[in-house]
C-alpha cells in the first residue's frame, strides 16, 4: 500500500518591511491601513489557509547612521491588528511575532491569552529573540542582553509564559448566580517562577483560553534554535524552501524530537516561500524577472552590497562593476536593526566569491544582487505551482508553506483563485476548516490532551 498523501498547510505572510515587497507597483496599497489587512485576511480565509502571519521589528532599520528608506518602512502593532482581524474572520489562525527580549512574560502571556479568548482559539506566537542595544534604545530595559544569553532568555521566557497559561486549568469559573460562587478556587492563577532571567510570583489574571496555550512558532536556524524548536515549538517558520535544503532541514529537526519524547507530527515545518503566478510557465518566468528588477533597484543593490562591504558605497555605479576595495571587517557595522548582516560571517570571502561570479557572468552590481539575493521559490502556471508545492510536501521537504506575496494587499488573490482549487482537487488541501481553533487546522492536540498522553505513558 502506498503512503497516504500528506495534507498541506498554507499560511499567508502579510508583506511588509523587506525587499521582496514591491511597493512601487501601481496595485500596491497601504501597509498600515486596516483595510489592507482585512483584504489580505479575508482572501486567506476564503482560500481556507491555516493562518495569517505578521512579522515584527521594534526599531526602524538604519544604514550608515540614517533610517533605511528604500524598502517599506512602518507597520502597525502585532497584537492590536490580530485582535481586530479576529472580528472580520472566523477560522483563520492569527500568528504574531513577539520578541522575548523587549517584553515581560506576564504582559505577553495575558496578551496572548486574551487574543486566544477574543478569537475563539486562533492565536499563535512566533517567539523571537533579539539582543541588540540598538533596538534596546526604544525600551525601558535597554539592550543589555549578551548575544549568548538570548536563547536562554527566550527559553525561560516561554517556560514562564507557559506556567502562566497553565496557572488556570479551565474549571475555576463557576459563575453560579444562585450560590454566589464565582470562582471554585480562591488561588486560581497562582504562580511562582524563580530563574536566571525572571523572578516573579503572584496570580495570573486571564482564565484558561480555548487553546490552553497559543500555538508556538520558532524561527531561528542555528543549532540552538533547532533544539529550542524540537523541545518547545509546535511549528517552525524556516527559510529552507529549496527541495534539497528543505529535506535536509526537515530530517534534521524531526529526528531531534524523539529525545524530547515527541512525535514527528507534533512539530510542523513551514518554510517561507514566494511565488510568481501567470497563465503559462513562460509568462511567469518573464514576470518573475520583472519582479526581481522591481525588488532590487540600483539604490537597493548598492545598499545590499554595503551589508557585506560594511562601507558607504553610494559613490559606486550600480550598473558598473563591483568595488575593488575590500570589506571593512571592523566590529562597527554600517547596518543596524536587520538580520541580514549575520548572513555574511566572512565578508572577505563573500566579496571574493562575488567578484568572481560577477566577472564570470559579466554582471553589474545590480545584476549580482538580483541573482545572488534571489528569493523567488515558485514560478509558473497554477498547475506548475500546485504540483511543485505538493511534490515538496510529499517528499518531506516541508509540511506546507508560509507564502509571502510581493504585492499588498492583493498579492494572494490569484493564488487563492487558481492554485488552491487545484490542490483541493488533488485531495491534499482542505475544502472546509477542520474545527474552530488553529490547533484543529494544524492537527495539533490541545495541551491538556498532550499532557494526558504523557501522564498515561509514564
Amino acid at each position: 500500500m502506498s503512503k497516504p498523501l500528506k495534507q498541506i498547510h498554507l499560511a499567508a505572510h502579510f508583506p511588509g518591511v523587506n525587499n521582496t515587497t514591491v511597493w512601487s507597483d501601481p496595485q500596491a496599497g497601504s501597509h498600515v491601513e486596516f483595510s489592507s489587512f482585512v483584504h489580505f485576511a479575508r482572501t486567506a480565509e476564503r482560500a481556507k489557509f491555516d493562518f495569517l502571519f505578521l512579522a515584527e521589528g521594534l526599531r526602524l532599520r538604519e544604514q550608515g547612521g540614517k533610517i533605511y528608506d528604500l524598502d517599506v518602512v512602518g507597520r502597525p502593532d502585532t497584537f492590536t491588528v490580530l485582535a481586530a482581524l479576529a472580528a472580520v474572520t472566523e477560522h483563520l489562525g492569527l500568528t504574531g511575532t513577539i520578541n522575548s527580549t523587549f517584553n515581560e512574560p506576564y504582559e505577553v502571556a495575558r496578551q496572548f491569552a486574551s487574543l486566544d479568548h477574543l478569537s475563539g482559539g486562533r492565536s499563535a506566537w512566533n517567539v523571537v529573540t533579539s539582543w541588540d542595544a540598538f533596538t534596546g534604545e526604544n525600551f525601558r530595559r535597554g539592550g543589555f542582553l549578551p548575544q549568548e544569553e538570548r536563547y536562554s532568555r527566550a527559553r525561560e521566557f516561554l517556560a514562564t509564559a507557559n506556567e502562566l497559561f497553565d496557572s488556570w486549568h479551565g474549571d475555576e469559573i463557576l459563575a453560579d448566580q444562585e450560590t454566589g460562587a464565582f470562582l471554585r478556587d480562591a488561588k486560581a492563577g497562582a504562580f511562582v517562577h524563580t530563574g536566571q532571567h525572571f523572578d516573579i510570583h503572584g496570580r495570573f489574571n486571564v482564565p484558561r483560553s480555548p487553546q490552553g496555550r497559543p500555538v508556538i512558532f520558532q524561527a531561528g536556524d542555528s543549532e540552538e534554535g533547532r533544539e529550542f524548536a524540537a523541545s518547545e515549538a509546535d511549528a517552525i517558520f524556516s527559510r529552507h524552501a529549496t527541495l534539497e535544503a528543505g529535506r535536509a532541514f526537515y530530517t534534521d529537526v524531526k529526528k531531534r524530537l524523539a529525545k524530547y519524547g515527541r512525535r514527528d507530527d507534533q512539530l510542523l515545518i513551514l518554510p517561507a516561500a514566494t511565488f510568481t503566478l501567470a497563465d503559462t510557465d513562460a509568462e511567469a518566468e518573464e514576470l518573475a524577472k520583472q519582479v526581481r528588477r522591481l525588488q532590487v533597484s540600483g539604490a537597493t543593490a548598492l545598499k545590499h552590497l554595503e551589508f557585506v562591504w560594511n562601507r558607504d558605497l553610494s559613490a559606486y555605479d550600480p550598473d558598473g562593476p563591483l568595488p575593488d576595495i575590500d570589506p571593512d571587517v571592523s566590529d562597527h557595522h554600517i547596518s543596524k536593526g536587520r538580520a541580514q548582516v549575520r548572513m555574511y560571517r566572512d565578508p572577505l570571502a563573500t566579496a571574493r566569491e562575488w567578484r568572481e561570479l560577477a566577472a564570470a557572468n559579466n554582471w553589474s552590481i545590480r545584476d549580482l544582487v538580483i541573482e545572488t539575493g534571489n528569493r523567488q521559490n515558485f514560478i509558473g502556471s497554477a498547475e506548475t505551482i500546485a504540483r511543485t508545492i505538493n511534490d515538496f510536501v510529499q517528499a518531506d521537504a516541508s509540511d506546507g508553506f508560509i507564502l509571502v506575496p510581493h504585492i499588498t494587499p492583493g498579492g494572494l488573490d490569484e493564488f487563492a483563485d487558481k492554485v488552491v482549487p487545484l490542490l483541493q482537487e488533488q485531495g491534499v488541501f482542505r475544502t472546509e476548516y477542520e474545527g474552530p481553533t488553529l490547533r484543529h487546522q494544524l492537527g495539533l492536540a490541545h495541551p491538556d490532551d498532550v499532557s494526558g498522553e504523557q501522564r498515561a505513558a509514564s
Binding site: F34, R59, D69, R75, A87, G180, A188, G202, S297, A299
Partner: protein, 402 residues
C-alpha cells in the same frame, strides 16, 4: 465637521466586567459566563453606540481584581480575571463605526514604545476613534508579577510616605504619556512618499527621533507605526487629588473627576483649570468629566430596590470613590445638568449592572437628554477628537521644522 454645541454635554460609559457593583454578576441579565468572549464586549459597545455615546472606556489591571485597596484578596464571590483592555477595544472596533474606544493602560509596568504603537494601531483599526486612559498601580503584588522593580509598600492611604510613592508613580506616568505622545508625532503625516524615481519609500527627514530621557526610562524613537489618523489619539486619566489633577492638566485631553455635588464639582474644576493655565494650556480644550455610578430605572423605587438587593447579596453597603446615583433617567438628567452648570463638560457613567444600566442609559437617559436639547441626535463627526470638539493637532516636529 460640525462641532458639538456648547450647551451639549458629552457622555461616556465605563465598562468593567458585569458592572461596577461587586455583586452585579449575580443579576439575571449579567451573563457572567460570557465575560471572556468577544461577543459579550461587542454587545456592550454596540449598545453604547446605539445610544450615540462619545466613547466607552474599558477597565484593566495587571493582577486580579481585589476588594482591598492595596493587596490581593482571596475572595471567590466576586468576578476575578479579565482580558487585556487594548485587545478588547481592538476586537470591537471593526464592529462599530462612530463610538470612541478608550482602553485603560497601566503606565507603571508597561513600555511606552509598545503602548504608543498599540494605541496608534487601535486608531488605524477604528479609523480615528482611539484613546487611552492612563493609570498607575502602587500594588506590590502587581510589581511582583513583573519582577523588574519593587514599589514601596504604602502603610496608610493618606500618609506622607504614600504621597511620596504616589507622586513618583504619577511623575512616571506623565513621562510615559509624554513619550507616547512624542512617538505618535515621530512620523510626519506625509512621510510616506513612494518616490519611484529615487526608489525611496519614505522621506526620512520627516521621521524624528524623540530622544525622550526621563528618570525611569529613555526612548529613542521613531515609532515603527506611522502617525495615527487622529494625529494624537485621546489621552484621559481618572483624578482624585492634586497630584493626578496636575497630570490631567499637563498631559490629558480628558480628566475624570469624582465630585459628590455641584459645589465640589466647581471647586475641582477650578483647581484643574488653574493647573491647566500654569501648564500653559489655557487655550486648549481640556474636558473635565464627572464620574458617577448609576442605578437607573424608570421607577425610582425599582432602582432603590435593585441597589438594596445587590447590597444584600454582597453582604455590605456599596461604597465608591464616585457619587452613586440611584433613580430615574429624568432625575439623572437633572443632576447631570446641574453638574454641567458647575463646569463639568461631560460624564463617564459607570453602570452598576452593565446588562441593565447600560441600556437604561442609552434608551432612557439619552432620549431624556435629547428632549432637553443637551445631547446629540446623530453622530456629528467621524473621529473621537471630532466628537469631543478637538481639532486634529499639528505635528510638534513638523512645526519645529517650519
Amino acid at each position: 465637521m460640525s462641532s458639538t454645541p456648547p450647551s451639549f454635554l458629552h457622555l461616556a460609559v465605563a465598562l468593567d466586567a458585569t458592572g461596577w457593583h461587586p455583586a452585579s454578576w449575580r443579576e439575571p441579565v449579567a451573563r457572567p459566563r460570557d465575560l471572556f468572549t468577544a461577543e459579550y464586549w461587542a454587545d456592550l459597545v454596540t449598545e453604547a453606540e446605539r445610544g450615540l455615546l462619545d466613547f466607552v472606556t474599558i477597565e484593566d489591571g495587571l493582577g486580579p481584581q481585589s476588594s482591598h485597596w492595596l493587596d490581593p484578596d482571596e475572595r471567590t464571590d466576586q468576578v476575578r480575571g479579565r482580558l487585556d483592555a487594548v485587545l478588547i477595544a481592538s476586537r470591537v472596533a471593526p464592529l462599530t463605526r462612530h463610538i470612541g474606544v478608550v482602553p485603560t493602560v497601566v503606565a507603571t509596568h508597561t513600555e511606552p514604545f509598545h503602548i504608543s504603537k498599540a494605541i496608534a494601531t487601535l486608531d488605524y483599526v477604528s479609523a480615528g476613534r482611539a484613546g487611552l486612559r492612563v493609570q498607575i498601580t502602587a500594588r506590590p503584588n502587581e510589581a511582583a508579577h513583573f519582577g523588574r522593580r519593587t514599589v514601596p509598600r504604602i502603610e496608610a492611604y493618606d500618609s506622607p510616605a504614600a504621597q511620596g510613592v504616589v507622586t513618583d508613580l504619577f511623575d512616571e506616568a506623565a513621562d510615559h504619556v509624554e513619550a507616547v505622545r512624542r512617538l505618535w508625532d515621530s512620523w510626519e503625516d506625509d512621510a510616506e512618499i513612494r518616490d519611484a524615481a529615487t526608489g525611496r519609500f519614505i522621506d526620512r527627514d520627516k521621521l524624528h527621533y524623540i530622544d525622550f530621557e526621563g528618570r525611569h526610562f529613555s526612548v529613542k524613537g521613531p515609532s515603527i507605526t506611522p502617525r495615527p489618523p487622529q494625529g494624537q489619539p485621546i489621552v484621559s486619566a481618572l483624578a482624585h487629588d492634586a497630584i493626578p489633577y496636575r497630570l490631567v492638566a499637563r498631559a490629558a485631553d480628558i480628566g475624570y473627576v469624582t465630585p459628590y455635588d455641584a459645589d465640589e464639582a466647581r471647586a475641582v474644576v477650578a483647581r484643574i483649570r488653574a493647573e491647566q493655565s500654569a501648564a500653559g494650556r489655557a487655550a486648549e480644550t481640556l474636558h473635565v468629566f464627572g464620574d458617577l455610578v448609576v442605578f437607573l430605572d424608570d421607577d425610582p423605587a425599582a432602582a432603590t430596590a435593585r441597589r438594596e438587593r445587590l447590597e444584600a447579596l454582597a453582604g455590605e453597603p456599596y461604597t465608591s470613590d464616585a457619587l452613586i446615583f440611584t433613580g430615574t433617567p429624568h432625575q439623572l438628567a437633572d443632576l447631570l445638568q446641574e453638574l454641567q452648570s458647575a463646569g463639568l463638560t461631560g460624564f463617564r457613567l459607570r453602570p452598576a449592572v452593565a446588562g441593565h444600566d447600560l441600556p437604561a442609559i442609552t434608551r432612557g437617559l439619552v432620549p431624556e437628554l435629547q428632549r432637553r436639547g443637551v445631547f446629540r441626535r446623530a453622530y456629528e463627526a467621524d473621529t473621537l477628537r471630532g466628537l469631543l470638539g478637538l481639532p486634529r493637532p499639528a505635528n510638534r516636529y513638523a512645526a519645529a521644522n517650519a
